[in-house]
Each structure stands twice: as C-alpha cells, then as structure tokens.
Amino acid sequence: MLLETVLKTAFILAVVVGAFAPVITWVERKQSAVMQDRIGANRADVFGIRVLGLLHPLADVIKLLTKEDVVPLGANRFMHVLAPVIAAVPAIIAFAVIPYGATYRFGEREISLVVADLDWGLLYIFAIGSIATYGTVIAGWASNNNWSLLGSLRASAQMISYEVTMGLSVVGVFMVFQTLRLTDMAVAQDATVWLFGVLPIPMWGVFLQPLGFVMFLAAAMAENKRPPFDMPEAESELVAGYFTEYSGMRFGLFYMSEFIEVVVIAGLMAAIFLGGWSIPFLSQQTIIGGVEPFFGAGFATLLCMALHVGSFLFKVIVMIWLQMQLRWTLPRFRYDQVMDLCWKIILPLSLANIMVTGLVILAIQGVA
C-alpha cells in the first residue's frame, strides 16, 4: 500500500516536475518565437547537439544554480528564504488529488491511479491554492523594496478575488456530476450522451458546462499571475514585481512554481472538463470487454490503463498549449480591468450559471 503510494507520487513528480515543467519553459520560448516570427531558443549546445533548443532548460538550471544568491540589505532574511518555498510547495502537492487513470482490477488487487482519492478533492485544491498566495505576499514584503511591496499588494488582492470566482465557476460542475471527488467526476464523464437522439457527444464537463469552462480557465490563469494577468509581476511598471530582489535558485523556484501551476491547471481542467483519462466513445468496459477475448484479462486491463494515461497526458498537453497560446496572444490588462473582469463580469456570470444549471437539473428531474 505504502509502496503503491510512493510509486504513484514518484510518477507524478517525474512527469509534472521532472518532464512537463522544464519542457514548458522551452515551449514558452518557442511559442513566443512563433508568434513573433522569430526562430527562438536554439543556442544551448552540448558537443554540437542542439535538438531544437531542448537543452535550454538544462542550461537554465545550471545558470540558476551557479548564480549568486542575494538577500537585500534590510530584508527579513528568514521570510526572504521562506517565501519561494511557500510558493512552490502548494503547486507541487496540488496534483495529489488529480486522477491520471481509472481504477483497474488485476485479479484480487485494485489499483486506482490517483495519489489521494479524497471525497473533497476539488476543495483540497482550492485550499492549497489559497495558501500559495502567501509565497507571493511574503516575498514582496521580505524584500525591503517598494516595487516588490507594490507587486505583493496587487498579488494579494488579485489572488483572493480570483479564488472566489474560480470556486464559483465550477459549482455548476459539482451540481451536474453530484460530487466533489475528482475520480468520480472522471468516471461520470466516461460516458456518451445522445443529443436530440442523433448526435453522440462525450459526457464531458466542457459540453455540459461550457460557460464554466471559459470562466474557470480565465480565473485559473489570473490566479497563476501569468500574462495577460501579470499585475503582481508587471515587468513594464514594477521591474519584476514581487520577485525583483530574488536571484539564483530562489528566483528559479518562483519561476518553476509558475510553470508547475500551468501543468496543475491543465491537469485540473482535463479532469473536470475534458473527461480526465476517459477516451471519447470508448468507455472502460468497452475497451476491456473488446480486447479481453483475444489477449486475456490482464493484458486488456494493462492496455486500457496505458491508453487512459496516454489520453490524460494528451489532454494535459492540449490545455498547456491553450494557456501558452492565450498568454502570447492577448495583450496585458490594466489593473482595474483585471478587477472589473473578476467582480463585474465573471462573478455575476458564474452566479447566473449556477442558477440556470440548477433550474435545468430540476426540469430534467421533473421530466424523468
């Protein structure tokens, strides 16, 4: 049991922190280059091997590790050291409740591909996300720098505001699937509904709650403080905002946690809105039932598991790409526009969404 948890945690860490996050730094550079008609990162060179600039993340890490670690004069040393850790840890542990595969039965053993299958999984993510605010706020305060302080003041207001809307925008999804457990949500989405009896669509959150999908994406991106919502960082006004006074690997931790959060948002959106590990029109029973007569139950389950994990990772990559595309497409908001978007547009819309969803569910129950 313990070994199983350790293995699952190791898989998540290897994929999210070890593979996705570094590669995203490369994707970010290449994507910006494509959008701006440049070639992009291709200079990192190990004995003449360049592989499209994929060695740049490695060069980044070496550079960050060898840089001088500066704590500014008059700064609170303890808090200054603590802040990047508070920022990075929630981002890493949030993935614990996101399922990357279904529950599979091998003879007597049942293996569920999620580290912690909590009944209140989504609430756990919101709670963890609210702790991450402190990393930003404390970083700005502990730096003894006015730019940093302004950045962290903006961050505290922005992150609290968008936490509210992020939570409210998925309440419709809770109502549709009648659960907060992310594994149950994925199982519920592993089905097909017939629209008007003719058009088959997968029962995914994005089709049942399209408005919720858009609002959650906007709120999550704002919560992650990446452009176009980069008010706390605001390179053109505040130098680098809350991490102006950070260098070396401490800066690296802020940088990494931002990219890990991109992966977490992608994984969360895949699990809530894109059916998680499910494959459209091919439910788990269909796959296992179809393969079992030819190759036996063990192989069928294993194949199903591989397909599901592949499907989940593919959806995560699509969502990461979407976030990158939005980041390099949209111009930055002004600060008042960020707040207006949150309180005057997304909040009323999400409340209306909850109302309408409830009425539709009541109507369907009344008919049935």
């Binding site: 609170n76 209140w120 702790i131 402190y134 706020v137 505290s156 992150m159």
Partner: protein
C-alpha cells in the same frame, strides 16, 4: 497514530499562537504565525473527521482573512514605536487575565461533562451532511447571516465611497 498527530498539531497550534501574541516587534511575522495556527487547527479538524470545516478553515481563515490582515499591515507599515509602551503593558495584563479566566472556566467544565463516545453517523463532516443540515434545519440562521454580510458589504462600500467623492 491519530493521537500522535493530535499532539503534534495541538503543540504546533499552541506554540504558533503564543508566537503570534508575544511577537510585538514584527507584525508580519505575527500574522504568519496566525496562519500556522489556522493550519494546525485545520489538521485537528481533519483528525476529528470534520473534513469540510477543515477545508473551509484553510480556505477562508488561512487563505483569505489573514491575507487581508497582511494587506493592511503592509499598507500601514507598522513599527514598534506606533504602540505606546504603557498602554501595551495594560493590554498585556488584561489579555493574560482574560486568558486565565477562560482557562479556569474551561477546566472547571471538563470533569464529568464529556459524554460517552459513539460511532460517527455515515458521511459525518462531509460536504453532503453539512450542506443538508445548513439548508434544511438551519436555513433561517443561514439566511440571517447572509443578510448580515450583505449589510457589512454595503456599509464598506458606503464608507469607501465617502472618502472618494
């Protein structure tokens, strides 16, 4: 196992609460100690199977309210010389007396008042049972609370508007 965790988080909660109260030199550090207290309390709620309360404790108290405290503390940039020392001593004495009174009252309540343990009902402390209780048995207090919060919001907006106009 759960007893070990209880003592771990109970000691953490008390220690960080003391750190918050005794730290008059650095207001931001005191606020961060408060966050640690909140998280330790949430962990104790988890040990009591009150999962929803634990999550709300972290989301609302640790995640939102103390951030607003920090926001205000940072804006005002409080220093030690803001508080006059004489008043500080008076407040401290009053605080110690109040804490002692509450502690004595609590200790006097303890013996004999603990009912025998019972097995928990199905789904205790989950969002389903809390939600059902909140929207059926306690719907009137719930609605009154929301009215109170609305009044507070309107009041805040009015006060903010006055200084703007």
């Amino acid at each position: 196992m759960s007893e070990t965790f209880f003592y771990l988080f109970a000691i953490l909660a008390v220690a960080s609460a003391l750190a918050m109260v005794l730290n008059v030199r650095n207001t931001v550090a005191a606020a961060m100690s408060l966050v640690v207290t909140m998280i330790a309390l949430a962990a104790i709620y988890v040990l009591l199977e009150a999962h929803l309360i634990a999550v709300i404790q972290i989301m609302v108290y640790a995640g939102a309210i103390v951030v607003l405290f920090l926001f205000v503390v940072m804006l005002l940039n409080l220093r030690q010389d803001v508080f006059p020392p004489t008043r500080q001593r008076f407040v401290k004495t009053l605080g110690v007396l109040a804490a002692a009174a509450i502690g004595v009252g609590f200790l006097r309540m303890l013996p004999g008042s603990l009912p025998a343990t019972q097995p928990l009902p199905e789904g205790f402390g989950g969002y389903r049972s809390v939600g059902l209780a909140l929207y059926s048995d306690y719907v009137l207090p719930f609605e009154i609370t929301s009215l109170l919060l609305l009044a507070a919001i309107v009041g805040a907006v009015v006060l903010a508007k006055r200084s703007l106009d």
